[in-house]
Amino acid sequence: MKSIKLFAYGAVVAVLYGLLFAYEKEVVEICKRGGWWFLFPVAVAFAFSVFHGTFTGLFWDALGIQARKSR
């Protein structure tokens, strides 16, 4: 189950980065506009943190690198 989750989040992250660089010019142009367009980098950064953050957690978990359960 965990490995399915890992691959699912990995796929979403790959799509997010794929889109970011496929539309690189547009992304840069929107960022440069400023004003209320600041919402764009903030929203994108939030989306990346949710999906990529979960993915990296699952990644280390899959490698067996987990927090110590008790002291």
Binding site: Y17, L20, F21, E24, V27, V28, C31, K32, R33, G34, G35, W37, F38, L39, F40, P41, V42, V44, A45, F46, F48, S49, H52, G53, T56, G57, F59, W60, I65, Q66, A67, R68, R71
Partner: protein, 353 residues
């Protein structure tokens, strides 16, 4: 400066790989000590040809999602005092705005060299005071053979928690005591001002939460991530409004740093609390020397001392940069070493049980 006039650089595969690596190493240090990974990123981006203000803006934009992930992770381990983090975070926003204003005024009156001198001077003064304090504390714990599991609250923190005339207070779960609002404001303000000046507010925030407010060092380093999130979000809005954020750069660094920050956060569960002080103190001392080497260059550029030859300037700049890199890589190596040996010990304990 109009953002549309700025060049957002073309990214090569080498640039991307370099940013991923620096992001990873910086993230690992941040996950462990709460901050400290960001100071190499701005100069690293500038060395690739990114304009200074875009480098600062993109660095801040990667900082808040990274801090959010790190804070959530360490919240799971019970390390975060959310109330203290949010209170300090809000006052840090004001410090950041004030700090950015001071930077702009210095730049307007003394130019780039004056601005660089101010930043380096702030590094040296803050790190000399706080870094020495942290190192002495870590060293005395080591000499006493004290692992810091049961950290003593400093006399100053005890006084802050007990004194009645400092006005209204709130309860801190980390300190397990009531803390006066009045004391939190200057700490948050100084953290924000330092973040706007040297990109690492945690060099003041973490030691202040531990030595002045009485939070255990492990909780202070985790709570700093909440402050970094609040400051990073505010900073991203500020720079994003002016159109300076290069989202591509920010997300590449984030890709590396999210791997690193999770590893750093996991590392804290395997080490004794005094290790946070050791890593923080070591990084602080190395960065102190790094900035110390560069100060004569800026003094010479301002004409405040005798001119320094170009070759000497090149050497001093290289020495300064590589000591800074050593600070980050050295810090990450200690974290990684502590994580590996901690996991091994834990596995052996499991086998023996």
């Amino acid at each position: 400066m109009d953002a549309s006039a700025l060049n957002f650089i073309d990214l090569s595969a080498g640039n991307v790989a370099f940013l991923l690596f620096v992001g990873f190493v910086g993230g690992m240090v941040s996950g462990f000590i709460g901050s400290g990974g960001a100071f190499v990123l701005t100069p690293a981006m500038m060395s690739m040809g990114v304009p200074g203000i875009v480098a600062v803006a993109s660095n801040i934009c990667h900082k808040f999602p990274k801090a959010l992930v790190g804070a959530l992770k360490r919240h799971k381990f019970g390390h975060v005092d959310l109330k203290v983090g949010l209170v300090l975070g809000v006052s840090a926003e004001f410090g950041m705005i004030y700090g950015a204003g001071v930077q702009q005024r210095i730049k307007a009156s003394l130019g780039d060299a004056g601005s660089n001198l101010y930043v380096s001077f702030a590094f040296v003064v803050v790190l000399a005071i706080v870094g020495t304090w942290v190192m002495i504390d870590a060293w005395s714990l080591h000499r006493r053979g004290d692992t810091g599991d049961d950290e003593e609250v400093t006399r100053l923190a005890r006084w802050v928690q007990q004194v009645k005339w400092l006005g209204p207070r709130f309860y801190s779960t980390g300190a397990k005591a009531h803390i006066p609002w009045l004391v939190t404001l200057p700490i948050g303000f100084a953290t924000g001002m330092l973040a706007a000046t040297i990109a690492v507010g945690g060099f003041v925030g973490v030691p202040s939460m531990h030595y002045v407010l009485g939070l255990p060092s492990m909780m202070a380093s985790a709570t700093e991530l909440v402050i970094a999130f609040v400051m990073g979000l505010g900073g991203t809005i500020m720079y994003g409004w002016s159109g300076y954020v290069d989202l591509r750069l920010a997300m590449i660094i984030l890709a590396g740093s999210l791997f690193g920050i999770q590893l750093g956060a996991i590392g804290t569960t395997y080490v004794r609390p005094y290790m946070v002080k050791v890593v923080m103190g070591t990084i602080m001392m190395l960065v102190l020397f790094s900035r110390g080497f560069i100060i004569p260059v800026y003094l010479s550029q301002l004409g405040w001392i005798a001119p320094i030859s170009e070759s000497t300037t090149t050497v001093l700049k290289a020495v300064s940069f590589w000591i800074m890199v050593a600070a980050l890589v050295g810090g990450a190596a200690i974290v990684l070493g502590a994580l590996i040996s901690g996991m091994r010990r834990h596995a052996l304990e499991g086998l023996a049980a």
